[in-house]
């Protein structure tokens, strides 16, 4: 396929310099028409680069691990339960991993993702490879991520086709009974909340 490539292997139809110039020109036109404020764009970019990220979702998971009543509320109404911890901006459905069920989140039509809670998705989540294959061969995809589940474990795939966003509540790893809620949150990864990883026991890290 023709087109430019950057150092990350992304495909671009046009060189970075042209893309950068077009975006700059677009912003300039919208400023001129008093439709956007550059400072507002700065703030939005800054928020996603600094404040909003997987660490927010990890706090939700850790709370659910230590507080069974919160876990129940989270599974019944994720949107309301994350608001208890000060997070919002998303209609959230939380799906729970158990010894017999593993959940996997994808968006085959675009790249829907609970970014108000766990930040922007990684490039692989938005890739054609993941979007096309996660629904059809989830076990093969999971093995590529290093998660090899026996056939006795049901894999539930959640294709985010509407305005609800999905978050996986991973299983709490064994050997973490003495850890504090904050220490547990440290163990939780972005990939575990998407469902392409399990949370490893601390000794295995």
């Amino acid at each position: 396929m023709s087109g430019a490539h950057d150092e990350h292997g992304h495909h671009h139809r046009e060189p970075e310099s042209v893309l950068s110039l077009r975006v700059r020109a677009l912003e300039s036109l919208l400023i001129e028409k008093k439709l956007v404020s550059s400072e507002a764009v700065d703030r939005i970019v800054g928020a996603y680069e600094q404040d909003i990220g997987p660490h927010n979702g990890a706090k939700v998971v850790a709370r659910a691990w230590v507080d069974p009543a919160y876990r129940q509320r989270l599974l019944a109404d994720g949107t309301a339960a994350i608001e208890e911890l000060g997070f919002g901006g998303v209609d959230l459905q939380v799906v729970e991993n158990t010894p017999g069920v593993h959940n996997l989140v994808v968006c085959t039509l675009c790249s829907c993702y609970p970014h108000a809670l766990i930040g922007l998705p990684p490039v692989w989540y938005k890739s054609f490879e993941y979007r096309s294959r996660a629904v059809r061969e989830p076990r093969v995809v999971l093995r590529e991520f290093g998660v090899d589940l026996p056939e006795s474990v049901e894999i539930r795939i959640w294709d985010s086709s509407a305005e609800l966003r999905y978050l996986v509540l991973p299983q709490r790893p064994p050997g973490t009974e003495r850890l504090s809620e904050a220490a547990l949150a440290e163990l939780v990864t972005r990939d575990a909340m998407i469902g392409v990883a399990v949370v490893p026991a601390p000794a295995a890290r």
Binding site: H11, L19, R22, A25, L26, G89, C110, V135, D159, L164
Partner: protein, 228 residues
């Protein structure tokens, strides 16, 4: 529409490649595209935005990065809505390349406050509508239309049997909202499909797929003959 964006189940794509220590944005312009899109989301709705990206020529869609597709969709919509023209954008690119920007970034506290207020508002996709026709556990059949416009029923799940897993409530209907035909909110369900129903003999064992589907995508189905 039977678009290139509708990728669920396609063959031909390889391993999912991961990047170590991936930054939030890979270039400054990606962040600007993201921030701009959030900042002017009052100009068009989410369904119009998605459909603008879906209308890219397939070869361009496949050849572009994620934020390149966003940029293409944004420009397409801004032009269609009469906010900017393509000539205006080309001219502005030439001006900036030549060293002069007629509207460089500047401080506008009133506009900033208005925009930040708008970004803090939670989008209200859930809107009152008629009561749901289907209850949890009911077997349904998805429609097998090939609509020319925007839809959120993926191709791989057309004409398939599923079971209502959850009744979500009434939500804005993307198929009309993307085309200026109103929000037409109605019942949205989580529908569970057995892997074998979707992929036949090549299905993996015990790997059901759940989709969030609007009632207008669904028809009642006869109860299943077996318990497979």
């Amino acid at each position: 529409m039977n678009g290139i964006h509708d990728m669920g189940g396609m063959h031909g794509f390889g391993r999912v490649e991961r990047e170590k220590d991936e930054p939030v944005f890979h270039a400054a312009w990606e962040g600007r595209v993201f921030g701009l899109t959030r900042a002017y989301r009052h100009l068009f709705n989410i369904d119009e935005s998605r459909h603008a990206i879906e209308r890219m020529a397939p070869i361009d869609y496949l050849g572009s990065s994620y934020y390149e597709r966003w940029l293409d969709g944004n420009v397409r919509l801004l032009v269609e809505k009469g906010v900017i023209t393509r000539e205006e954008l080309e001219r502005r690119m030439a001006q900036i390349a030549g060293g002069s920007d007629p509207a460089p970034p500047h401080s506008d506290p009133k506009l900033l406050e208005r925009m930040l207020r708008a970004t803090r508002e939670r989008p209200h996709y859930r809107q009152p509508g008629p009561p749901p026709r289907f209850a949890t556990g009911v077997r349904v059949l998805t429609r097998n239309d090939a609509p020319v416009g925007h839809t959120r029923l993926p191709r791989y799940a057309r004409g398939k049997h599923g079971v209502i897993d959850r009744v979500h409530g009434s939500y804005i209907f993307p198929d009309t909202n993307a085309h200026g035909q109103g929000q037409q909110p109605h019942a949205l369900y989580s529908v569970r499909f057995d892997a074998a129903e979707l992929w036949g003999g090549s299905a993996e064992p015990c790997a059901p797929v759940h989709l969030d589907l609007w009632e207008r995508y669904l028809k009642p189905a006869a109860p299943a003959r077996s318990t497979s």
